[in-house]
């Protein structure tokens, strides 16, 4: 299947979904006024990936900002990932040191989603 490579903009994140490597990365900022349109193809991709996933799947979320419109779409991404069976999956949630809001946002997802989360503090994203 085809990989996804989307360059980030001031309002939308950089997306790198690599099926062969079992690596999915979302980075930058996600603050579009309406995020449904942006996330739809990502959800479809995960659905297909679920058909033949790698033995190990690493998901890296390195967001500097995201708005509440995106927060629901990001939850949908995680819910789709939950549906990907027979893979050893981890969600790495990155946050900048002192950014308690971003850490807390990660913990909110962790409480809802049934995939292991790793909270990773970095100096700068």
């Amino acid at each position: 299947m085809e990989n996804i490579n989307i360059e980030g903009t001031p309002k939308t994140p950089t997306v790198k979904f690599d099926a062969g490597g079992g690596r999915l990365e979302l980075s930058g900022r996600s603050i579009p006024e309406n995020s449904i349109e942006f996330y739809k193809p990502l959800l479809d991709w995960i659905e297909s990936y679920g058909g033949s996933p790698q033995g190990k799947t690493e998901v890296d979320i390195k967001l500097e900002y995201f708005n509440t419109s995106s927060s629901k779409c990001i939850l949908d991404v995680f819910k789709k990932l939950e549906g990907v069976g027979s893979t050893d999956m981890t969600i790495n949630w990155y946050y900048e040191e002192d950014d308690e809001d971003m850490l807390e946002a990660g913990e909110d997802y962790q409480a809802i989603i049934n995939i292991p989360f790793k909270m990773i503090e970095v100096e700068e994203m």
Binding site: P10, K11, I31, P32, E33, N34, S35, I36, Y65, N67, T68, S69, S71, K72, L75, E96, D98, D99, D101, M102, E104, D108, A111, I112
Partner: protein, 187 residues
Amino acid sequence: MLDIYDFYDKMEKHNIMLSFKGAVTSELLSSILGIMETKMDNLAEPPKIKKKVFNVLVECLQNLYHHTDEAPVDEYGMDVRSAIFMIGKMEDHYSILTGNFIYTDHVTKLKTKLDTVNAMDKDELKAYYKSVLNNGEMSSKGGGGLGMIDIARKSGQKLDYNFMRVNDKSSFFSLNVKVVQPSKEVA
């Protein structure tokens, strides 16, 4: 003739660093957010306050983008979906002030929502956010009813709001969100 000095003087006295009145478009929001980031960088704001202000600003401005209803035509003519916002920087906090028309019919619903949020403490807000995130329906506008909860959570302040009835059809909704500068940590 409008007294421009009067406008200037009022804004200066209220420490307004940026203001806008008119139609709120996606392009406008991109520009405003870019300007505010540059301004805060130039002021060498600590990343913590910069992020909080930016996050709260995004939600406040996108609320205007999504929820501004038509202005009363008899009083304001054709300028249909116009709003106002101002960003002020005081000694120890930023103020984000927004004002927009909403249909008078919608006032009760919004007021109930704001009062619900204002009655909650930090932990209750966190639980409420998670429940709406997980169970709420997404509207076609791409909102999930999370904006005000998020503003209250990130600002750590009660939502200071007011409704002014213009006529049977239109009311003016104003919101003043304070983002307090966290006390500088001692090294």
